[in-house]
């Protein structure tokens, strides 16, 4: 908002150039054989998941550990509507319904959780949500088909390109929405709530409404990703859909990039994927150990993320967010 117009123009050109590159890249190479195209597809997915977490946690200060619940809901809504014959292959309507399903659950669960629980307790409550839904899906009888899961016939698969472009589109739309929110009065309210709830409320901000808004928007885009994932893997079961990876990886990426920043999470996604791939290539056996060590090092020594080296802002925001507060003790 306060940036000089020239700087803003440069940023916009960089963003447009990047999007342009990602749009033409799969058209220039043999997309089906290219591993990089698959990695980019994964990255776009994680950009959306990361910003979905970032809007509630980084901007509004409400750290959710239940993003995998929304991802799983997205998966199951798509799989079940497919099985029922109401949705087709890569059906935009089914995808929107999956996002909406996650958003509705976010509102229903968010109302009591966000009204009654703060900080660590809210985080634990959301973690519980994911587990409850996983167990519910496991015992869902013929509706969710239990541990066996739901299969979508995979013979409709033709190319990775539609997945790639849909994931790119979702992530660009997510980024655009976040940009507009962050630079509007809504963004101001979210940051105020993160900084001091009591003061925010005393200054006329209806805090519950804005917390729910941030939480629900994050759930919606996460549900969209879940839906696309269902179409990609063609088989939805509880361990895949409600996997903790869908919440842990985005959190790590946001922290690595810079929590509560706009560009940071994108940098975090690409650097973490690059780092993990590199480690995997070099030491296939030791990969999990190195990845784990990497995570610990980042949260301890890089709490402001990569962004802080670009902008010079070191506000230790991560150490003020509730479940990460204990990290500050180590400094």
């Amino acid at each position: 908002m306060l940036q000089e117009p020239l700087k803003r123009k440069t940023h916009l050109s960089i963003a447009l150039a990047l999007v342009f590159f990602f749009v033409i890249y799969p058209l220039l190479v043999d997309a089906e054989a290219s591993y990089l195209v698959f990695l980019f597809y994964t990255a776009f997915m994680y950009v959306t998941l990361s910003q979905g977490w970032n809007i509630a946690a980084g901007y509004a200060g409400q750290v959710s550990l239940g993003q995998h619940a929304f991802f799983g809901i997205g998966c199951y809504v798509t799989a079940i509507t497919w099985r029922a014959g109401t949705a087709g292959y890569l059906d935009p309507l089914a995808m929107l319904m999956s996002g909406a399903g996650a958003a509705v659950v976010a509102i229903v669960v968010g109302l009591p959780l966000l009204a009654k629980l703060r900080g660590d307790y809210f985080a634990l409550g959301t973690l519980g949500l994911g587990e409850i839904l996983r167990v519910a899906a496991l015992n869902g009888g013929s509706f969710t088909e239990g541990a066996a899961g739901i299969s979508i016939p995979s013979d409709v698969y033709q190319s990775i390109k539609p997945y790639y472009f849909i994931a790119l589109l979702i992530s660009v739309l997510t980024m655009l929405s976040l940009w507009f929110i962050a630079h509007s009065r809504i963004g101001l309210a979210l940051v105020a709530i993160r900084e001091d709830e009591t003061a925010a409320s005393a200054n006329g901000i209806p805090i519950l409404r804005y917390k729910i808004l941030a939480f629900t928007l994050g759930a919606f885009v996460t549900g969209l990703c879940g839906s696309l994932n269902a179409y990609f893997v063609f088989h939805i079961d509880t361990t895949g859909a409600f996997n903790l990876n869908w919440v842990i990886m985005p959190i790590l990426m946001v922290i690595l990039g810079g929590v509560g920043t706009f560009v940071g999470p994108v940098l975090g996604v690409f650097s973490l994927i690059a780092a993990f791939e590199l480690i995997r290539l070099l030491t296939p056996q030791l990969h999990p150990i190195f990845s784990g060590a990497f995570i610990i090092l980042v949260t301890l020594f890089l709490p402001d993320g990569i962004m802080s080296y670009l902008t010079g802002h070191k506000n230790r925001l991560l150490h003020k967010l509730s479940p990460f507060k204990w990290l500050a003790l180590n400094k």
Binding site: L2, R185, L188, A192, T198, A199, N203, G204, P206, I207
Partner: protein
């Protein structure tokens, strides 16, 4: 509602609040008129903060009601109170640390009063000017001194265009010259905005210099109310602070 020709902005009626066996407030009446500065003093544990928290709905009174401009507002959520015309500052300063001074005050204008766009920005600048922070508007609050943050809270409270502002020990932690500045700011706020101010303070001399009226609480009861010079002579008040003289 009129009282001596002036509008009564805030009226507390027989406020009673107890915590378990402890009667923190016992039938306290109080009213504040438009443009009036009312001081609220009393020894530690007298119930000043409890009274504040009842007005700002952090506590619900066991008995009694709070009226703003004649309308009952007891127990309304605090963001609604702000919309209705009660803004406040905090004893332990609560500014939005990662935001600039300007954006802090902008929040008061946008969410406190429902202003938009240019009007909100102008109001925020005006409030910053009133407290003397106009040249620090782009400073991030985390880098401001305690005294500036206290002034910023006053600006933020005023940007909401309230009928009444509750200020909770605005002098706490300030040095003598900062206290003099704060007194000037409170006076200017009242004179320029005609806003009513209910002011809790431990520094009794500051209260006596500026207030139109002073109410004294002791053990949850209002033991005296009147002009500062009357209160300074009041036997009950002196006893509450210093104890009874030996017979």
């Amino acid at each position: 509602m009129k009282n001596n020709g002036k509008d009564v902005v805030l009226r507390l009626e027989k406020i009673t609040k107890s915590f378990g066996g402890l009667m923190a407030l016992n039938g306290v009446d109080l009213s504040v008129e438009q443009g009036q500065i009312v001081g609220l003093i009393g020894p530690n544990g007298a119930g000043k903060t409890t009274l504040f928290n009842v007005v700002t709905s952090l506590y619900k009174p066991d008995k009694g009601d709070v009226y703003l401009a004649g309308k009952k507002i007891t127990g309304k959520p605090s963001h609604q109170l702000c919309h209705l015309g009660i803004s406040r500052t905090f004893q332990l300063v609560k500014t939005f640390l990662s935001l600039t001074a300007f954006k802090n005050v902008l929040i008061g204008a946008i969410y406190g009063h429902g202003m938009r766009g240019r009007q909100a920005r102008e109001e925020a600048l005006e409030a910053l000017r009133l407290v003397g922070l106009a040249d620090k508007k782009e400073v991030v609050t985390a880098h401001m001194t305690l005294s500036d943050r206290r002034l910023l809270e006053v600006a933020r409270a005023l940007a909401a265009k309230p009928l009444i502002t509750l200020v909770d020990e605005p002098m706490a932690g300030l040095n003598p010259s900062e206290i003099i500045n704060m007194l000037k700011v409170i006076k200017r706020a009242r004179n320029e905005r005609n806003v009513a101010i209910l002011w809790v303070e431990h520094k009794v001399d500051a209260i006596f210099r500026l207030c139109d009226r002073v109410a004294v609480l002791d053990y949850g009861r209002k033991i005296a109310e009147g002009k500062p010079e009357e209160i300074a002579q009041n036997k009950k008040v002196i006893e509450a602070y210093l104890g009874k003289p030996p017979p």
